[in-house]
């Protein structure tokens, strides 16, 4: 068990690509930390630097109290699960799991015990004599996990381990991973491009883009108070609605205006706007929009035209348009409406976000 600290780490590839820029964060002991971001954002490179599979251009990575910058992977006391499982095709499941222990010269009895324990935890005792090619995708995934846990490493590293599984199995393995982490309590770093995985698995989540950390925080923190427009749009499904608005004061009130749209910005958000330029991006999540009723004040309402109706059963997603901005609203499944119908939507004033038009940082 150990904390992992990543201090001002940079990675510049030989071709000059600056893949990871000044990443500085700490993974706490026993924490499940998820790195999430679009492909090419540097999350996997960061993980591979922790693993020792990529060299560090500058900065320090420490596992526990040891700076591991120049240690080979074998001496870092880590275990890694790869996206394509990387099972050794010529070895049985048992030997796949035992390989790491054999390389570390464990005694035969101990190897046997550890492999069988791990197999029992993962429910693969009956598969120990099989070869990887005789296993299904989910079973291979379990073997790959088993190979990591037999070693009792200080840190688990996961590189998109679920992305080769079908959707149903992915959800199931996600739950099992979470349980496994609770049971073992080992520090874990998990890389994924799937924000749902990040939200459900992570104790804390790191959002990255273009090699730069955008925000680090607990899942709900990222969801409720995104640091910038990128995080706001990346976390949450369906994604947050954005509209380019102009901010102006009139009658002692701050208004956010766009064609077909005029919203009174509520306090305390309005108070924070001071000093920002007239242009801004307004953000509101689909579930914070509802069909306006008599109780909703007019300054929080706007008229839209329904373009697409997506019936999901538990909710309806309305794809609507107001002027040149589009809004997806998650509304009551009992609502009856038609395409091209005009209706009024109201926003939840406490959940409105504004982002600076230039820096894209949250206001």
């Amino acid at each position: 068990m150990a904390l992992v600290s990543i201090r001002n780490v940079n990675k510049v590839y030989d071709g000059g690509v600056h893949a990871v820029k000044n990443v500085d964060l700490e993974v706490r002991d026993k924490e499940f930390m998820v790195f999430v971001g679009p492909s090419g954002c540097g999350k996997t490179t960061t993980l591979r630097m922790v693993a020792g599979l990529e060299s560090i251009t500058s900065g320090d990575i420490a596992i526990g109290d040891t700076v591991v910058n120049n240690l080979p992977p074998m001496d870092r006391d880590i275990a890694m699960v790869f996206q394509n499982y990387a099972l050794y095709p010529h070895m049985s499941v048992f030997h796949n799991m035992a390989f790491g222990l054999k390389m570390r010269k464990f005694e035969k009895a101990e190897i046997d015990k550890r492999v069988r324990d791990a197999a029992a935890i993962l429910g693969i005792e009956t598969l120990l004599d099989r070869k990887p090619r005789q296993l299904s995708g989910g079973q291979r995934q379990r073997v790959a996990l088993g190979r990591a846990i037999v070693r009792h490493p200080q840190v688990f590293l996961f590189d998109e381990p679920l992305s080769n599984l079908d959707a149903k199995l992915r959800v199931q393995m996600r739950v099992e991973l979470k349980k496994l982490h609770e049971r073992l309590g080992t520090t874990a770093i998990y890389v994924t491009h799937d924000q749902v995985e990040a939200m459900t698995l992570g104790d804390r989540v790191v959002v990255m883009k273009d090699g730069v950390v955008q925000q680090v925080g607990e899942p709900l923190e990222l969801y409720n108070t995104p640091a910038n427009r990128f995080v706001a749009g990346f976390i949450g499904s369906p994604a947050m609605n954005f509209a380019e608005v102009t901010l102006s004061g009139a009658n002692g009130k701050l208004w956010a205006e766009a064609p077909g749209l005029k919203i009174g910005v509520p306090e305390p958000l309005a108070g924070r706007v001071n000093g920002h330029s007239g242009k801004a991006t307004m953000g509101i999540r689909p579930e914070d929009l509802h069909v306006a009723g008599p109780a909703d004040p007019a300054e929080l309402c706007f008229e839209v035209e329904v373009e697409v109706i997506e019936q999901l059963g538990s909710e309806i997603l309305l794809d609507t348009r107001a002027g040149n901005s589009t809004f997806v609203a998650s509304v009551d499944p009992m609502l009856r409406t038609k395409v091209h119908e005009r209706l009024k939507l109201a926003i939840n004033p406490n959940r409105l976000h504004l982002f600076d038009a230039e820096t894209e940082a949250a206001i």
Partner: protein, 283 residues
């Protein structure tokens, strides 16, 4: 497989296949029939009444006996086997290591070096044998098996290196990375993980190298002179074609017996061979 009407299957699949097999196997059939045909039938003119080129009613072992009693065919077989085996082992050893290095170790100019090795494979033997003859003479290796054992790798190593390089590149990098995280050094990861996975590739490189050296003609002709030292291809052609007289029966017998070891090697490893060349790694 072609689906649909039976005639389609015959026209597009069965008939072309049968034609192909016929064309490929006919020379072998001709070799076999000539081996067992007595001389009297062999040299019968085509317009004779009892001319029957595709069959014989009086099979004989005379030609095979002639081969073993009147020539050093047994010696030639042993020579060829020894030379082919040793040069294959040398070339495989170098080829596997070089292929691994070029495919996996990111050292400067790896790409250029790979191309350079390939270019040496493209130099025609017919040009290379002149300088090689000089070298062989200087080291006093002429007319010994070592003349061939040491020259065959000049074309076998580039070939093995390239075949293995392609095969190693097809093996997922994660396998090796995982092994290294599991506690194996680079060398151990190669021995325990990469080489076992690459066995089909190594086998096909080996079979190819063996066949190439078994059939090699030019160097064997140039570097060996005494009948005792010759290999099968050179021995058969130089001892059984005297002037413009072709001893067709023993010639064909020699060709037939000479192709048997290669056929055996192929049939044993054919599955590995196919998966080695198509580069499929099942994970």
């Amino acid at each position: 497989m072609i689906e649909g009407a039976v005639w389609r299957k015959w026209v597009f699949y069965n008939i072309p296949l049968i034609l192909f097999v016929f064309i490929l196997l006919f020379p072998f059939y001709w070799m076999i029939i000539t081996t067992f045909r007595p001389d009297g039938e062999l040299y019968r003119p085509w317009n004779a009444v009892n001319y029957q080129p595709f069959w014989t009613n009086n099979p004989t072992l005379d030609h095979i006996l002639y081969l073993f009693e009147e020539t050093s065919f047994g010696r030639w077989m042993v020579n060829t086997m020894f030379i082919a085996a040793v040069s294959t082992v040398i070339s495989l050893f170098c080829g596997v290591l070089a292929g691994y290095a070029l495919a996996r170790l990111n050292f400067p100019y790896a790409g250029g070096l790979g191309t350079a090795i390939f270019v040496t494979y493209l130099v025609p033997q017919i040009l290379l044998f002149i300088p090689l003859a000089e070298i062989i003479r200087n080291y006093r290796l002429g007319d010994t098996p070592w003349a061939l054992i040491l020259t065959y790798p000049t074309f076998l190593i580039p070939f093995c290196t390239w075949l293995m390089m392609g095969y190693f590149k097809a093996i997922p990098k994660e396998l090796e990375e995982c092994a290294r995280i599991d506690g194996a050094s680079r060398f151990k990861a190669m021995i325990y993980i990469i080489l076992p996975v690459a066995v089909p590739g190594i086998m096909s490189a080996g079979i190819f190298a063996f066949t190439l050296s078994w059939n090699e003609f030019l160097y064997a002709l140039v570097f060996l002179s005494s009948p005792e030292q010759k290999t099968v291809p050179v021995g058969v052609t130089s001892e059984l074609i005297r002037g413009d007289v072709f001893f067709w029966g023993p010639l064909m017998a020699g060709a037939l017996l000479g192709s048997i070891p290669v056929a055996i090697v192929y049939s044993f490893f054919v599955e590995h061979y196919v998966s080695g060349l198509t580069g499929s790694v099942k994970g």
